[in-house]
C-alpha cells in the first residue's frame, strides 16, 4: 500500500486479490445458463423491476428456484410492457456466481480475506458486538444504515429495530443521497411529500418543464409520457447543462450552468409577475407567502438571471412566456436541481412558479419530483430517516412520539431523539462517537461524496456488520457479512414515482444460507434477547402494523391491503381505512393530490393542502452559489450522474454482462472546445483531479455538454469512482450532498492507471 493510499484509506481487495476472484464482480451472460434452463419457463411471476423509482411491471420467467428470463407485463398500467435494458437483464442477477450463499467473517489470513461461518454463529457475533459497543460507549455508538431499494415493510422494520431494539438515535438511509431535497421542499410548500399527480396528467400538459432530469437515461419510460404530451400539442422545456437524449428533441433547451437553478426559477417568477401571468384567484385562496416570494425575485431581472445561469436572456423570456400563458402544465425535476448545497431552495423555487401559475391539483396540471430509487417514495415515509417515525411523523414531536410508542408498546421516553444524517454518521466515526455499524442496502464506499474519507472511516470501525446479496465494495470492509435477499426472493410493497403502492411478489426462495432481510434483522433482535416487537412471521404482518401506524397521518396506508393492490394494480396513498367521521370505508386511493375540495387529515376540510389552514406556502427561494466554485487551480465544473445501463452504485448492474458491455467503464464527457484547449482527443486517458482525490478515465469528446463543465457517471467503485472527486458539502435543511457541482482540473494522462484492469476487469 502506497503512502498516498494509506492517507486515502485502504482498498481491501488490494491486500487480497483473491477477493475479486472469489466475489467478483463477474459478468453473467444468458449464454452461460445451462441449456435446459433456457427452455420454456415453468411459471411466470407478476412483479416489478428491482431498479428505479418508476417500478415498471415485469413478469419473471421462473424454472424451479431460478429466474431464467423475463416477459413484458402488458397489463400494468404505468409501463404497459415497456422496460429499459436494466429491467430486461435484471434476471441475470439471479443464480449469479457472486451470490453470497453463506455468512462470512473477515479473516486477513484467508486468501479472499473472508471465511465462511455458520449463519447462527454470525448472528451471535453481531449481537455480541452490538451489546459490547453499546455497553462501553452508549446506545448511540452503534449506528444503522439502510436503503430505499428495500420494501417499505423492511424500512419500517429497520426504523423500529434501531429505535426500539438498539435504542440508537443513529439510523439513516441512502435516500439522503437521492430524494431528500425534494421531500423537504415539498413538505415546506405543500405539507406533504409525494408526486402531486399521476403520470397520466403529463399527457394533457401544454407545457412540460423538465429541470435537471436526464429522463431518457434515468427514468426511460417517462420519455414516452413526455413525448406523447408533445404529440398532443404540448411544448417541452428542458433545463440541463448537458444536451441529454430528452433534450435533443425538446422545444426549448436551457443549457444552465450547474448550480444556478434557483436563479432561473426566480427569474421566471420575476417575468411572470412583470407580465401578470399569475393566477391571482388561486394565489389568494389557496396559498400564503406570495408577497415575500415576490419581493425575493425583484432583483432577478432577465438580464441578471441570464448572467448567473449562463442562459440567453431571450430564451429565459421565451420559457417564461410559454410557462406563464399555458392553460395546463407539468413541472418535474430530479437530482439535477436537488443534489446541491442549496437543493431545497432550488425545489422551492420550482414550486413557486407552479403555485404562481395555479396549475396544480387538476387534470393536466401537475408537479412531481422524479424519484430515483426503487422505493425512494415508500422508503422515505416510514421511519428509516434519522428524524422521522412511521407515517411521516417527526421524532421530535411529543404527540407523534406518544402515538408511535403506543403502537410499539413502549414508553415515549424510551424512544431515542433525532439522530444524524448518513454522512454525519461517518463524521461521528471520525470523532470516535460511533464505533459500530450495521448496514443493509447501501454502498457508501461508492455512493457517498469524498469517498476516500468513507473508506478510512469504515476501516476505523471497531465492528461493522453488512447484510448484502453480493460482496459490495462496502461489504469488503465488514467484519461480518450476512447473506440477505435479492428482490425476487422476498415479498412486500414499494411506493413508486407517482405515489402508487405496489406489490413485489416472491419468485424464488433464498439460496443457501441466505435469508430474507427482515428475518435477519429479527434474528439479531432475538440474539440480543430483545425479540419483543420483532416476531413477525411474514411481510404481510409487518405491513399490517405499518398500516395501523400510518392511520390518520398524511401518509395514510391504513386502507391498503395486498389484495387491493392486486385488484387495482396499485393503490395511490393516501388511502384511509376510515372516513373523517371514523366510519370504516373502502377507499380506492388518491391518484391526484390537492384537488379542489379534497379532504386531508391536517387541513380537515379547510383546503386542499396539508397545513391546518389548507393553504400551500410560497417561500422566498434564496440564491447562493455552489459550495466550491471554480478558480485558477481547479477551473472546471464537475457534474455527476447516471447512464442508462447502470444503476446507483452498480453492485447489481456491474455484474450483468450485457449491461456492462453497453457501458464498460465511466467516461469523462468533455466539450471539444475545452478538450482542444487541454490537448485531449476523444478516447484519451485523462486525469480528473479535485481537492479530494483524482481518477484517470477515458474521455468522450462531445458537443452535448457545456464547455465549462465535465461529466462523469458515478456507478463505479475503486479508483474509477467519481465520488473520489465530489465534495461533501450538504444542504443545511435536507443534508443532501452536492454531487452536481465541484471544482476540478483535467489533464491528459500518459495512459491508463496501472491498477485498472487488475482491479475490476472481467475477473
Amino acid at each position: 500500500m502506497s503512502e498516498r493510499d494509506r492517507q486515502l484509506g485502504p482498498y481491501p481487495e488490494d491486500e487480497h486479490p483473491e477477493m475479486l476472484r472469489r466475489f467478483g464482480p463477474h459478468l453473467a451472460y444468458r449464454q452461460e445458463l445451462p441449456p435446459e434452463e433456457a427452455m420454456e419457463a415453468e411459471r411466470l411471476v407478476d412483479t416489478h423491476c428491482c431498479f428505479c423509482g418508476q417500478q415498471c411491471g415485469i413478469q419473471l420467467r421462473v424454472r424451479g428456484e431460478r429466474v431464467v428470463g423475463f416477459e413484458p407485463r402488458y397489463d400494468f398500467p404505468f409501463n404497459a410492457g415497456k422496460l429499459c435494458p436494466k429491467g430486461i437483464k435484471r434476471y441475470l442477477q439471479n443464480g449469479h456466481p457472486d451470490r453470497l450463499l453463506h455468512a462470512y467473517r473477515r479473516d486477513r489470513s484467508a486468501p479472499s480475506g473472508f471465511r465462511e461461518l455458520p449463519y447462527q454463529e454470525a448472528i451471535a457475533r453481531v449481537a455480541q458486538e452490538i451489546e459490547r459497543i453499546q455497553r462501553e460507549h452508549g446506545p448511540d455508538a452503534f449506528a444503522v444504515l439502510s436503503g430505499a431499494s428495500l420494501t417499505t415493510e423492511k424500512t419500517y422494520l429497520l426504523g423500529k429495530f434501531a429505535r426500539m431494539c438498539l435504542r440508537t438515535a443513529n439510523i439513516d438511509y441512502n435516500g439522503r443521497l437521492c430524494m431528500v431535497s425534494a421531500a423537504a421542499g415539498n413538505k415546506k410548500a405543500f405539507g406533504v411529500d409525494r408526486a402531486a399527480n399521476p403520470w397520466s396528467d403529463i399527457l394533457a400538459a401544454e407545457v412540460v418543464w423538465i429541470a435537471g432530469a436526464n429522463v431518457a437515461e434515468c427514468a426511460p419510460i417517462t420519455t414516452d409520457y413526455v413525448w406523447q404530451a408533445r404529440e398532443n400539442g404540448g411544448r417541452v422545456i428542458v433545463v440541463d447543462p448537458r444536451l441529454t437524449p430528452i433534450a435533443r428533441t425538446c422545444d426549448l433547451f436551457l443549457p444552465i450552468k450547474p448550480g444556478r437553478d434557483v436563479a432561473l426559477f426566480n427569474g421566471i417568477l420575476h417575468i411572470m409577475i412583470e407580465k401578470d401571468w399569475l393566477d391571482h384567484d388561486f394565489i389568494a385562496r389557496h396559498t400564503s407567502g406570495f408577497e415575500q416570494a415576490a419581493a425575493n425575485v425583484v432583483e432577478w431581472t432577465p438580464r441578471r438571471t441570464a448572467e448567473v445561469t449562463g442562459i440567453a436572456e431571450r430564451a429565459i423570456r421565451q420559457a417564461a412566456e410559454w410557462w406563464g400563458t399555458a392553460r395546463t402544465s407539468f413541472l418535474t425535476h430530479a437530482r439535477g436541481i436537488e443534489h446541491h448545497s442549496h437543493g431545497v431552495q432550488n425545489v422551492l423555487g420550482a414550486i413557486n412558479i407552479v403555485l404562481a401559475s395555479g396549475r396544480i391539483g387538476r387534470p393536466g396540471c401537475g408537479y412531481a419530483t422524479i424519484t430515483g430509487q426503487g422505493n425512494g417514495q415508500g422508503g422515505r415515509e416510514h421511519g428509516q430517516k434519522c428524524d422521522q417515525l412511521p407515517g411521516g411523523r417527526d421524532i421530535e414531536n411529543e404527540k407523534h412520539r406518544a402515538e408511535v410508542a403506543a403502537i410499539w408498546g413502549i414508553q415515549p421516553g424510551e424512544l431515542p431523539r433525532a439522530g444524524v444524517d448518513i454522512y454525519e454518521i461517518f463524521r461521528l466515526v471520525d470523532k470516535g462517537a460511533v464505533r459500530g455499524l450495521l448496514s443493509l442496502c447501501v454502498n457508501p464506499v461508492v455512493s457517498l461524496p469524498d469517498n476516500n474519507f468513507i473508506r478510512r472511516m469504515l476501516d476505523k470501525l471497531e465492528f461493522f456488520a453488512c447484510i448484502d446479496f453480493f460482496l459490495s465494495e462496502t461489504a469488503r470492509f465488514a467484519h461480518i457479512v450476512l447473506p440477505g435477499s435479492l428482490h425476487e426472493e422476498d415479498e412486500g410493497t414499494v411506493t413508486q414515482i407517482e405515489g402508487r403502492v405496489l406489490k413485489i411478489n416472491k419468485a424464488v426462495a433464498c439460496p443457501g444460507e441466505a435469508r430474507e432481510d427482515w428475518r435477519i434483522i429479527q434474528d439479531i433482535a432475538g440474539a440480543l434477547g430483545r425479540a419483543r416487537g420483532f416476531t413477525f412471521a411474514s411481510p404481510r404482518e409487518i405491513f399490517d402494523e405499518l398500516r395501523a401506524a400510518s392511520r390518520g397521518t398524511a401518509y395514510d396506508y391504513s386502507g391498503i391491503t395486498y389484495e387491493k393492490i392486486d385488484a387495482q394494480k396499485g393503490v395511490f396513498w393516501p388511502c384511509p381505512s376510515h372516513d373523517p367521521d371514523g366510519n370504516p370505508t373502502d377507499h380506492p386511493g388518491t391518484e391526484r393530490l390537492f384537488e379542489p375540495g379534497s379532504w386531508n387529515p391536517i387541513a380537515r376540510g379547510s383546503g386542499p393542502f396539508y397545513f391546518p389552514d389548507g393553504k400551500a406556502r410560497f417561500h422566498p427561494a434564496r440564491y447562493s452559489p455552489p459550495a466550491e466554485e471554480v478558480d485558477g487551480e481547479y477551473p472546471i465544473i464537475l457534474t455527476t450522474g447516471r447512464v442508462v445501463s447502470q444503476f446507483l452504485s452498480g453492485n447489481q448492474t456491474r455484474r450483468i454482462g450485457p449491461l456492462v458491455d453497453h457501458d464498460p467503464e465511466p467516461r469523462v464527457e468533455i466539450h471539444p472546445t475545452l478538450a482542444g484547449s487541454l490537448g485531449i482527443s476523444d478516447g484519451d486517458w485523462v486525469r480528473v483531479r479535485s481537492r479530494r482525490g483524482e481518477c484517470v478515465l477515458r474521455s468522450r469528446v462531445v458537443r452535448t455538454i457545456r464547455p465549462d463543465t465535465v461529466f462523469v457517471p458515478y456507478h463505479w467503485g475503486g479508483r474509477k469512482s467519481a465520488n473520489q472527486l465530489t465534495v461533501s458539502a450538504q444542504d443545511p435543511i435536507s443534508k443532501i450532498p452536492e454531487y452536481k457541482v465541484c471544482a476540478v482540473r483535467v489533464e491528459r494522462a500518459a495512459g491508463p492507471p496501472v491498477e485498472l484492469g487488475a482491479r475490476e476487469g472481467k475477473g
Binding site: Y29, R30, Q31, A38, G69, F70, P72, Y74, G81, K82, L83, C84, P85, I88, K89, A216, E217, P220, I221, T223, D224, W227, Q228, R230, E231, N232, G233, L243, T244, P245, I246, R248, T249, C250, D251, L252, F253, P255, A306, G310, I311, A312, R314, A315, Q318, V644, S645, P658, L659, H662, H671, P672, D682, V701, V702, R703, T704, I705, R706, P707
Partner: protein
Amino acid sequence: MASVPSEYEFFIDPGRCIGCQACVQACSECDSHKGQSMIQLDVIDRALSTQTAPVVCMHCESPTCADVCPADAIKRTPDGVVQTARKARCIACNNCVLACPFGVPKMNTRVSLMMKCDLCYDRTSVGRRPMCASVCPSGALHYGRRDEIERLRPASQPVSEFQFGRQTIRTKVNMMVPARAPRAIDVLSGLAGTVVSHELTDSVFAGDLEKNLFVATPGGSDPADRNGG
C-alpha cells in the same frame, strides 16, 4: 398455420429513439437466437449528438435478400414476414448481407447461417407483440393497429415506400415521418444532407438564442418536424 394478423403493423419512429438499447437487449432474449440480438442500434454521431436509431428488418414486399439468394434459403411467408435463412439451405455466401439496402441481415459465421429479424415470428404469429416494440420505453418502436398510431402520432404519418436510386422498395414495416413529408422516402437524397448540425449544438452552449430555440426547422411547426441536433 399460425400467421401474423394483418391488422397489426410495425412502426419505427427514429426521432423518438433515446439509445437505451432496450430493444437490443430484449431481442437477445428470444429463444430462437439466445444471447444474440438481431437489432442494430445506430449511433449517428456521438461527438455531435445523442441521436441514435434502431434498425430492424423492414420486411420488404419483394425482398432483395431473397432475390439475390442463390440457394433460395430466404422465404417471405404469406403474411409478409421475411424469415431468417433456412439452415438446411443457407450456404453462408453473404449475398444477402451485401445486397440488403437497409443493411439488416447478419452472417453468423459460427454456425454459417444468415440471421435476421423475423418480426419475432414465434410471438407475432400467435397474436403476441414482438419483444423490441413491447419494451421500447420511448415509443421509437411500436407494434399495433394503424388507427392506433394515427391517434398517438397526429403530426406524423407512416411511410412504407423507399427510393434507392432507381429501385423502389415497399415494406411491411412503416417509418414515421412528418405529416406533410412526401409519401416516399428518397434515401439517396437524404444521404447528401447533414444528418446532425454542428452549428446547432455549438450555438446552444454559446448562448445564441436564435438557434437555441428548437422550433425552426424548414418545413413547418409540427412537433414531428422539431428534431433538433
